[in-house]
Amino acid sequence: MSLLATKSLTKHFGETRAVDGVDFTVRDGEVLALIGSNGAGKTSLVNLISGLIGADSGQILFRGADVTQESVHDRIRAGIARSFQLVNLFDHLACLDNVALAIFSREGKTRKLVSLARRDGAVWQEAGDVLHQFGLDGKARVLAGGISQGERKLLDVAVAYALRPRLLFLDEPTSGVSTREKAPIMDIISSIVRSRGITAVIIEHDMDIVFKYSDRIVVMHQGSILADGTPDEIRENETVTTTLIGKPTS
C-alpha cells in the first residue's frame, strides 16, 4: 500500500527542469533509496514533498489526502519529517533542547508562554531517550554548534525523528563525514527506523550504503525517474549503470 504518491509533479527553475512530471510512490514501512547524479532532482523532489518549495504543477498525495497546497506545518502534523543535506540545527541550544523543542512543537506546547519548559518532565525524559537511542546522551548539555559533524548529522535526524513521523526523508545522512563514521551512523539510523516501523526515504551517493540499507531504489536522472526496483534489479539494470557510471570501454 502506498503511503505517499506524487502525480506528474513538476518544478522548473527557469529553463532547468528540476522535477519533470514525476510519478513517485513510497510504500508503507519500506526504506527506499533515492539516487542519481548531482542535479538529477533528488533534493528538489524531497523539497517539494516536504513543502520547502512549491510545485509548478502535479499532485502530492500522503495517506490518500492531497497535501500539495498544505503548509510545512500541516505536512509535519500529517506525519512528514526530514533531515537536511546541510545540517539544520539550533546551534545555540543544547543538544537536549534541540530534541525537546521538536517534542514541544509536536505536542502543541510551544504556544505556552507562561509555563516553565523545565517543569514538563515527560518531554525532557523523551528527549533524553531519543538522544540515548542516537548515541548522543553524553552530549545532552553541549551546544549543537559544538559537536562533531557526524554527531550533528545524527542530531539532525534525531530532531526529525522526535516528531514521530510516518514518513522520514533523510537527505544525505552521511555526507561530509569520514568513511569510517558512515557505517556506524547508518547502523544507528537504520536500526531506529526499522525497529519503529518508520517509512524512510534516503537520498545518498554512497552506493555501498544504498545497497546495504535499502529495500527499494529509485534512480533519478535529469528531473525524471529512470529506474525503480530492488537493489538486485538496480544493480543489474544496464540503463542505470550506463547513465550513472558510464559505458564500459571494450
Binding site: 516536504s50 520547502l52 503548509s71 510545512v72 506545518h73 509535519i76 502534523r77 519529517a81 526530514r82 537536511f84 539544520n88 540545527l89 539550533f90 546551534d91 545555540h92 541550544l93 543544547a94 537536549l96 533542547d97 525537546a100 523543542l101 521538536a102 514541544f104 512543537s105 509536536r106 506546547k109 510551544t110 504556544r111 505556552k112 508562554l113 507562561v114 509555563s115 516553565l116 519548559a117 523545565r118 514538563d120 518532565g121 525532557w124 525524559q125 528527549a127 533524553g128 546522551d137 553524553g138 545532552a140 548539555r141 530532531v159 526529525a160 516528531l163
Partner: protein, 332 residues
Amino acid sequence: MSTIVAALEARSPAKVAASVAPLAVLLLALPYAIDPYQTILFTYGLIMAIAALGFNLLLGYTGLLSFGHSAFFGVGAYAVAFMVKYLGLGSMELFILGAIAASVIVTALFGFVCVRYTRIFFSILTLALSQVLWSLAFKFFWVTGGTDGLRVPTPTLLGVSLGRTEDKVTFLAHSYYYYVLVIFFACVALMWVIVNSPFGKALQGIRDNETRAEFVGIQIWRYRLMAFLVSGVFTGLAGALWVPLNGLTTPDILYWPFSGEIVFMTVLGGFRTFAGPIIGAVAFNYLKTYAVGFTVYWQMFLGVVLVFLVLVLPTGIVGTAGQLGARLRRAA
C-alpha cells in the same frame, strides 16, 4: 545524577531566586542608603530596564533587531498623558492599564506589517513606522502639545494620593521608587518565565535556524508576532512608568535616537544574556546622565563607548563578566 536531571537542575527557579535575593534586599534598602536624586536616577534606570527587557525578547531571543521601540515607549507615555488631559484621570493603575491597551493595539498593527520580514528589512520597517508616530506627535500639536509636550502630574498609587502629603521629590524617591521596583520585579519574573517557557524555546529556535524551526512545525510568523506584542507591551509599560517620573512627555521619546538608546542599553549589557539588558539600561542611564553633565560633546563620548563595546566587549558587560568568571573557575 543523570545528564538530563543535571540539565534541568541548572534551570531551577529556586536557584535563580536564591541568587538574586541579596540584590533584591539591596534594592529595597536603596532609598535609605543614597540621596533622593540618586534614587530617582536609579528609578529611571529600572524603568528603562523594563523597556530593554522587552526589546531583548526580540533581539536576543528571536533574532530581530527593532529600530522602532521608541514608538511603543512613546505610546505608553502618551497614553498616560492623554488619560490625564482628556479623561482627567490620575490613577497610576488606570494609567498602566490604558498604556498596555494602547501598546497592544499599536504593537499588533506594527507587528502585522513587520514580522513577515527579517534582518535589515525588519529594522527599517520598524524605524519607518516609529517615525510615522513621531511625526504625528510632532505635527498634531493641538492634540499632543507638539514640542511643548503634555504634562503629567503626580498620580495616585493604589488609590492613595501620597503625592499630596509629601513633597514631589520625596514621593518619587520613596513611594514611586517602590511602586516601580515592584513592577520591575514582576516584569523580570514574567520575562524570565517567558524566555524559559516552551514558547521561549521556540523563539530561540527561530533565532538560531528559521528553516529547522519551520521543519519542527513552528509557524514562524505567529511566534514572531507574539514576541513582538510582548516586547511592545513591556516597552509601553516602561513608557507609562516613565512619564509621571519625568512629569512631561514630548515627541523626543518617539524619535529614532531614542530607539537607538534602547539598542545601546541592550548591547552595553549584553543581548545574549537575560540580565544583560537590565544591567545595560541602568549603566547607560548613569553613563548618559554624567556624560551630559560632563561635556557638551556627550553624544561623541557615547559613540566612542559604543565603538569600544562592539570591538572589545561584543558580549557586553554581563557576557564579559560571565566569560571572565568561567575563566577564573577553570583556572582555580
